[in-house]
Subunit: 122 residues, 2 copies
Amino acid sequence: MAADIVAIAKQFTDFYYSTFDTNRASLGSLYRDTSMLTWEGQPIQGRDSISEKLTSLPFASVQHKVTTSDVQPIQNGIVVYVTGLLVVDDSTNPLQFGQVFNLTQEGDSFFIQNDIFRLNYG
Amino acid sequence: MAADIVAIAKQFTDFYYSTFDTNRASLGSLYRDTSMLTWEGQPIQGRDSISEKLTSLPFASVQHKVTTSDVQPIQNGIVVYVTGLLVVDDSTNPLQFGQVFNLTQEGDSFFIQNDIFRLNYG
């Protein structure tokens, strides 16, 4: 694994959230059949099911703004914890969110093995 | 690994936060020399350094109230993502926090390999 995990994490989160905000349907390529997503407490497993969940979320437009991003090495990868703001359908009242990724290295790239997402209500 | 990871996660978070709130000095037993903590962006490695950090946090009393807890299996362990409220020194204005643990199984118990803590300001 490359030494600069901070750069890897930033590259990943930049790509993940810009893809989420512009072309959710293509997020599936970041997951594998073993991948797990827990979305607001709902467990979903496998690339196809996760992709279906993400594309069927009930909002037309969404924008993620990352506030903090922390990273640590794990076995064969990194863990990334992101907090930030979510602007849904141009609402003037952004929601706080937190998201955890365990990324597994595969050759020169990474896939999402574990993904846990939560909105934090104030 | 036992099948009921939800029960394991609950047992862990109950123990961790009750110990944090009543006897911080003994949290060190949950970490190993390889363990990593990122506390509000500050990286700390190893049981002794982590224990020192946790015991030197500048508040006299603290109480954690868990709002959500999500768990998924990982290699040799589980990942747990907790959100909740932190009441510091009996303040009437609790702080929101988020915390990620990657727990590694060791015989019949688990230690904390990765720990990332963030306060979420509203």
